[in-house]
């Protein structure tokens, strides 16, 4: 049974310029003890997806259709505010891009890490001990002393590790990590990824890892969900998607990453065109206007085609992969 199961999720925002269809028919699972990556460029709906899962959509947004099942029984779209609050932090934890956002600047790290455990029923000393153990696990040097220091006294990489420690303190079933390494330098980014992997294995939780960095996802995740303009265009295991991409957007996106180009090239590949205006979501395939394989049928909405076990692409041509190196 998957920890999180999103089925046919649609989210709309009502704005002054009309209704924005921010997520359209989004479906994917986060299986138990697995790390699932969500990749996509700005405007693809990653943040809306997280907010929908956490029940934190802006006031003008609503889930118009679909369900988000947590541990098979609770539909997060139907839970009340109080139940959601009980769930967040306890069973679903989050880590964000800016760790300082998660840490209160006027309390010491120790105070905050003890406060997080208010529902655990442990004694104060036990809580503190647990906090320092957790800090040790995220490799904060001199964990005992670190407890009585304030967040600003730590470097960016350390604050992010402290934020991770706090998120995992209650051993949640699901950790949602929203671009947690984006603000970090490459060497720290790698270290943080390795740490996340290690802690995930130890605690045995599932992770939903949101990133725009294909390399990080390839390295950390087991499954990947590719989003474009509020739709899941392709999903599968990391190997399936990265080695045998079936949606033209995924193909193009992978090509664009300069890291994929081993040979030095002066002219880097790009995806011409812009993300469509979601206030007037065009009918048919959402990627069609920028797609080099577009043909007549793309005026209709393509089906989610399964081309391998769990490998699904929303494209009419998903079962006919393009020959390698064929570019428009």
């Amino acid at each position: 049974m998957p920890v999180l199961s999103v089925t046919g999720l649609n989210v709309r925002f009502s704005t002054e310029d009309g209704s924005v269809h921010a997520l359209k028919d989004v479906s994917f699972d986060v299986p138990e003890r697995r790390i699932v990556g969500v990749v996509g460029e700005s405007g693809c709906g990653k943040s809306t997806l997280i907010n929908a899962i956490l029940g934190l959509l802006a006031k003008n947004g609503e889930v118009s259709k679909g369900s988000i099942l947590f541990q098979g029984d609770r539909d997060l779209t139907k839970l009340g505010a109080t139940e959601m609050r009980a769930l967040r932090g306890e069973e679903i934890a989050t880590v964000f891009q800016d760790p300082m956002g998660a840490l209160n600047p006027v309390f010491t790290v120790g105070q905050q890490m003890v406060n997080v455990q208010y529902r655990s029923g442990l004694s104060k000393a036990e809580k503190r001990k647990r906090a320092s153990e957790m800090l040790k696990q995220v490799r904060i040097p001199d964990a005992e002393a670190a407890l009585s220091r304030y967040p600003y006294e730590f470097s960016g990489g350390m604050t992010q590790r402290i934020a991770i420690a706090m998120a995992l303190m209650m051993e949640p079933a699901l950790l949602i990590a929203d671009e947690p390494t984006t603000a970090l330098d490459a060497t720290l980014e790698v270290a943080t990824i390795e740490l996340l992997q290690e802690l995930q294995a130890k605690i045995g939780c599932s992770v939903l890892f949101i990133s725009h960095h294909l390399g990080v996802v390839a390295e950390l995740c087991e499954d990947v969900v590719v989003m474009y303009a509020g739709e899941v265009v392709e999903r599968g295991t990391v190997r399936q998607v990265f080695n045998d991409p079936r949606h033209p957007y995924t193909v193009r996106l992978l090509e664009c990453d300069p890291a994929r180009q081993k040979k030095r090239m002066r002219h880097l590949p790009t995806i011409p065109g812009e993300i469509p205006d979601l206030r007037a979501r065009p009918g048919g395939c959402i990627f069609a206007p920028r797609c080099h394989r577009r043909f007549g049928a793309c005026a209709n909405t393509p089906p989610d085609m399964e081309t391998g076990t769990g490998h699904v692409a929303r494209c009419f041509l998903a079962d006919q992969p393009e020959p390698v190196g064929a570019q428009g």
Binding site: M158, D185, V217
Partner: protein, 328 residues
């Protein structure tokens, strides 16, 4: 005149820190030398805090230079005053990190692009025509002239920045993180544009970045910066092929690649970047260097130069050398 556009010799940039009475100064840039020729792209790579942005701003005279010499088109500029510097600013332009944030929010794109002409009193040139020419040069349609920065995507804003940077036909363009905040599919567009312009206009370019994948494709030569100094300088391809400084090697290996099957033999860097307030003795990288030996802790390495490669390390790495197994 030789085709060296800018020559930087042993430049230092000092910051004063601390309160009045107990002021001390630290070196953000601690003695850096390089030169860039016409039509050449020179990349400066480093992690946050390495001083790369400070260096860029010092060359552009936005920061005072506390020691060393900067020669721009055969003229010493490190101590020119604002007035004397102004005409030179037509020949040297700078692009800033934040694509949208570096554009005045209340000005239209048309005004933003025309701003250099207005600043330098070149209104007699037909501004309308110039704006149109520049916009088409960077691939933006004419209706963009009436938009405001907040109505632009990151890529479009970056193009406006490029248009503005080349408005007055400079010979040198300094680009600070030209791909920061841009999606992968847009990064390529911006880099291709810069490359085309460099070729067409014979620009000398300095690109400041932390993204090594980008450097490989666009830069002819590169320098790796650590704690305000260049640790390794040389031809880009040669450095990628066989990094000789341990820090370069670690940086190169720390780049996650979007390929789940790459073998990862990563060189991990222990410990945090030391503070500029307390520079380590000896080789400044020794606190994090996996190859560290006793001499590194006491004696600063000399600057050696072999085949266009400048290096500060006691024990340059052989091609593909792996860190020694640490005991314990």
């Amino acid at each position: 005149m030789s085709d060296v556009v800018v020559k930087v010799e042993d430049v230092e940039v000092a910051f004063s820190v601390g309160r009045i009475g107990r002021r001390s100064s630290i070196l953000g840039v601690a003695g850096v030398s390089f030169e860039v020729r016409r039509g050449e792209t020179f990349a400066i790579v480093g992690e946050s805090g390495s001083g790369k942005t400070t260096l860029a701003r010092a060359i552009n005279r936005l920061r005072p230079v506390s020691r060393g010499a900067i020669t721009f088109e055969g003229r010493r500029i490190e101590s020119l005053d604002r007035q004397a510097m102004k005409p030179l600013r037509r020949r040297m332009s700078m692009m800033f990190q934040d694509p949208v944030g570096s554009l005045s929010p209340r000005m239209t794109v048309g005004d933003l692009v025309a701003e250099p002409y207005r600043i330098h009193g070149l209104e007699r040139r037909n501004i309308q025509e110039e704006t149109a020419r520049l916009l088409s040069l960077v691939g933006l349609s004419q209706d963009f002239a009436h938009r405001y920065p907040h109505q632009l995507s990151g890529g479009q804003a970056r193009r406006v920045g490029v248009a503005r940077a080349i408005a007055l036909d400079p010979v040198l363009v300094i680009a600070d993180e030209p791909t920061a905040g841009l999606d992968v599919s847009v990064q390529g567009e911006v880099l291709n544009l810069l490359n085309d312009l460099r070729e067409r206009l014979g620009l000398a370019m300095v690109i400041i970045t932390h993204n090594l994948h980008v450097v490989r494709h666009v830069a002819d030569r590169m320098a790796v910066m650590y704690l305000g100094r260049f640790v390794e300088t040389g031809e880009t391809e040669a450095i990628f092929d066989a990094p000789a400084h341990p820090y370069t090697a670690a940086l190169l290996s720390a780049n996650p690649e979007p390929d789940p099957d790459t073998a990862r033999d990563r060189i991990s860097l222990p410990a945090e970047v030391p503070s500029l307030l307390a520079r380590p003795e000896g080789c400044e990288f020794h606190t994090r260097c996996p190859w560290v030996r006793d001499i590194c802790k006491t004696t600063p390495p000399p600057c050696s130069s072999v085949e266009h490669r400048v290096l500060t390390c006691h024990f340059p790495l052989a091609r593909g050398e792996r860190p020694p197994e640490r005991t314990g």
